[in-house]
């Protein structure tokens, strides 16, 4: 109650008092810093924290592991989880805990590598397709063609050409993921091309590479980084599936998919061999998906429609 000309002391008899208007100008309690950020964006916070934890495990696996993950000791095969072997041993006596930790390295490496490579390649292809009109038709037909092949089959077919190795798996999955990224970049470029400021730049005589660099590229970063997280998650799952059917990383490299593949014959009697890597894989993929969702909501709510 501030500066009303006439002070109304109390309402006349017979009239109910109007309810208090809400205090619209009351100060909002700002939560600052990291805690505030986490409060406002729980998906990014939880997802990001878990991913960081996994990265930590991957980097420090040699210190966190209790035994050599490749040490074979048939005398102590298929032991249940115990104090000596936290996750038990597999059918060759190797420590499942240490193998799962080292498996984090392979799976995260594959995920990161594919995400980065597919993003870079998809970015380049999408930019070219979006800016150079005569190339657009051809490139998009090729991308459509590749996208018509279900990603697992595409990766399987590519792996059939070579022997199993982490590098080959990365290349195979990257090729499977590039079409989607390039489509996204191309659609962003196409929509940006219509923007008035891009028109203005063209009229002003700015050359195409400069236009791309200054106007188009920054705008693709947001949707691309969201897409990159989805590619990351998808790559980890595809690698696990490839290893599961025997077409992925070679058997002597401990990846989550491999550990599960080797343990699957015993899953009824020793389910922990499948369960622990499955849990880690699911958790990591979940975290990355959460991160992606959170990024998408934070960076640009309009992306929710497109992605």
């Amino acid at each position: 109650m501030t500066d009303l000309p006439v002070a109304i002391a109390s309402p006349p008899i017979g009239f109910a008092a109007a309810p208090e208007p809400p205090d619209l100008l009351a100060p909002v309690k700002l939560r600052r810093g990291l805690a505030g950020f986490a409060w406002r964006h729980p998906a990014i916070a939880i997802g990001g924290a878990l991913v960081l934890a996994m990265v930590f495990v991957a980097v420090f696996a040699p210190y966190l592991a209790t035994l050599d993950p490749t040490a074979i000791a048939p005398a102590r095969r298929t032991r249940e989880p115990s104090a000596a072997f936290w996750f038990g041993t597999d059918m060759l006596g190797r420590d499942v805990y240490s193998r799962v930790l080292y498996g984090t390295r392979v799976s995260l490496t594959v995920g990161f590598a594919v995400a980065i490579l597919a993003s870079l390649a998809g970015l380049a292809i999408g930019l070219v397709a979006g800016t150079i009109r005569w190339a657009d038709g051809i490139i998009m037909r090729v991308m459509d063609g590749l996208m018509s092949i279900p990603p697992i089959l595409l990766a399987v077919a590519l792996m059939a050409l070579t022997r199993g190795s982490v590098g080959n798996v990365v290349v195979a999955i990257t090729i499977a993921e590039i079409p989607r990224v390039s489509r996204l970049v191309r659609s962003v470029v196409l929509s940006l091309r219509e923007q008035p400021y891009v028109d203005a730049a063209v009229v002003a005589g700015t050359r195409t590479p400069m236009i791309i660099l200054r106007h188009i590229l920054p705008n693709t970063l947001a949707p691309m980084s969201v897409q990159a997280t989805y590619v990351f998650a998808s790559a980890m799952i595809i690698e696990a599936i490839l290893s599961f059917i025997g077409a992925g990383t070679p058997p002597n490299v401990p990846s989550w998919g491999n550990i599960m593949a080797e343990g699957r014959a015993l899953w009824q009697v020793k389910p922990y061999i499948v369960f622990f890597p499955a849990f880690f894989l699911s958790l990591t993929v979940l975290a990355v998906n959460l991160l992606g969702d959170g990024l998408r909501d934070a960076l640009d709510p309009r992306l929710a429609k497109r992605l």
């Binding site: 074979i72 048939p74 298929t78 025997g246 070679p250 058997p251 002597n252 014959a265 015993l266």
Partner: protein, 532 residues
């Protein structure tokens, strides 16, 4: 059209197909009691038992084709398709007379000329057959039921050769099929055995179906392995391929399959707990694990490198990886012959016994001139016997400081690649894993032969081993055979024809309502019946 009409017509089409799918349950019930569902050790990818030496092919072939003679449970050859045989006094002329009434699945009678053609094809691929052929003067059909094999020198082990169950088994096919080049696969699967192969229902990698041949006339004796009367008690046998041991184990417990040829030892405790499942040893003569090296190219072309492997390898590791913690299931094997048989010997096997010496092995390897070149190892990943052996080997070779090129391929591809003699790095190989049935491991087996180019994959060339094999063939008494076998074992170990990884037993499992299953080197389907 508008949306409503579109959706309605789609729904209509859907219900029609659903209604059309209902069938009468009564018919299916009558069939199940006479159908036996079996899970074999591997996929039946091809079906020529003379061309391919895989055991799974032989096991299926034993139902579809019949043999002139067959081993009984004492490993003695007994007459099967043959009614009577005659040997001339000088041992050079063998005359065989077939039983009457034998028919092929297409209705044609089994004639002596079919036997002659089949023998020719078999002999071209079999070690013993080749030996007989080398001595052959003529092999001819005398009349419809008689044929004669005339040799230049006596071959006392003739019946053993014709009745043995080691691959390739001497199956009798129609002459027109047996005319196929022995190095090409046959295209038709017609035999005279108790079961017909139902080709239309064959799904390679999924299923193979056999149906009872009603015109089969079994012998009147009780059956004993490949000898005696093969009385079928079921009308239809379905081989269901299950590469996933977890799925097979669950299916057996649930009654969706009846008989599992080789459950892995880890699931056996689970199967034993199930009230409806029986588990027992599949074959008391067991199996011998094999680390087969390529004698043509380095490093294993040098005997010191081969002996380095014997010095370093731990048979206990291999066996534990294969069959787990149950020590009744395996034995160390300082040689190449089956424990429990009269010809078993440990002579020369000290190198495999005692504590393992990696340093000595590394020295031997260095002496052999190994300089770090990649060693290509063909390891079948989908075979429960070769995969664990392969894992142990890769670890062993790495600890010896070797540069391992791990070819993790499937068992079928191992079969194709091991036949190739090109140098490693150009598609060749330096080692692969396999196993031999204990019933096969004697001096007649191709695994122990070392005749260079003509030998089995690996092509060892050791005259001393060949001399001892010849000595065994010429032996007239059991003592002479034993002496020859002892010398053979010693020679083969000194030159390391291959490295035995140990002797192990395997289980088989079946539902309680299935009876008549016997122990043996292959699953015998005659005499097996099933109650509902």
């Amino acid at each position: 059209m508008d949306r409503r009409t579109f959706l309605k017509s789609a729904a209509g089409a859907g219900t029609l197909t659903a209604v059309g799918g209902l069938s009468t349950p009564a018919i299916s019930q009558r069939v199940t009691a006479r159908v036996l569902r079996f899970v074999p050790q591997a996929d039946l990818a091809n079906f020529d038992p003379i061309w391919g030496t895989q055991y799974v092919v032989r096991n299926a072939a034993a139902m579809v084709w019949d043999t002139l003679y067959g081993f009984d449970e004492n490993l003695a050859p007994r007459r099967q398709m043959v009614e009577a045989e005659e040997v001339s006094t000088d041992g050079l002329t063998w005359t065989f007379r077939l039983r009457s009434g034998l028919k092929f699945h297409d209705g044609e009678p089994v004639l002596a000329k079919d036997a002659v053609a089949s023998l020719n094809r078999w002999a071209a691929r079999d070690t013993l057959g080749l030996m007989i052929k080398a001595l052959q003067d003529e092999l001819v059909a005398v009349d419809d039921r008689t044929f004669r094999w005339v040799l230049k020198k006596p071959f006392p082990k003739m019946l053993l050769a014709l009745g043995k169950n080691s691959t390739p088994v001497c199956f009798i096919m129609p002459a027109r099929i047996a005319a196929t080049d022995p190095f090409r696969q046959i295209g038709e699967y017609i035999g005279s055995g108790p079961m017909r192969f139902v080709r239309d229902e064959w799904v390679p990698g999924g299923r193979a179906v056999f149906e009872r041949f009603t015109d089969y006339i079994p012998r009147q004796e009780p059956s004993s392995w490949l000898a005696g009367g093969k009385q079928m008690q079921v009308d239809r046998i379905e081989w269901i391929i299950m590469p996933d041991a977890g799925t097979a184990s669950a299916a057996l417990q649930n009654g969706e399959i009846d008989w599992w040829e080789n459950p892995i030892t880890d699931v056996v405790p689970l199967l034993r707990k199930s009230r409806n499942v029986m588990v027992d040893i599949a074959d008391p003569l067991g199996n011998i694990g094999v680390f087969r090296m390529n004698h043509l190219y380095p490093p294993f072309s040098d005997v010191r490198a081969r002996r380095a492997i014997l010095t370093a390898m731990s048979q206990e590791d291999y066996m534990r990886a294969l069959v787990g913690d149950d020590t009744t299931l395996w034995k160390p094997l300082p040689g190449f012959f089956t424990p429990g048989t009269p010809l078993y010997t440990e002579e020369g096997g000290e190198i495999l016994q005692g504590p393992r010496n990696l340093d000595a092995a590394r020295k031997l390897l260095a002496q052999s001139g190994y300089a770090g070149q990649p060693v290509t190892c063909l390891i079948g990943q989908d075979q429960p016997i070769t995969k664990p052996q392969g894992d142990i080997t890769v670890d062993l070779l790495k600890r010896l400081g070797m540069n391992v090129d791990f070819a993790a391929i499937d068992w079928g591809t191992v079969g194709a690649r091991r036949a190739v003699k090109t140098p490693p790095g150009q598609g060749g190989w330096q080692m692969f894993h396999t196993w031999f049935a204990g019933a096969d491991c004697n001096a007649t087996h191709f695994g122990i032969r070392a005749n260079g180019d003509k030998a089995w994959f690996g092509w060892p060339d050791v005259p001393e081993v060949e001399a001892q094999v010849a000595a065994w063939f010429e032996a007239k008494t059991l003592d002479e055979e034993k002496a020859a076998t002892r010398r053979l074992n010693k020679a083969a170990l000194e030159s390391v024809v291959y490295a035995p990884t140990g002797f192990f037993l395997q289980y088989q499992a079946w539902r309680k309502n299935v009876t008549g299953i016997v122990k043996g080197p292959l699953p015998f389907f005659w005499g097996v019946s099933k109650t509902v």
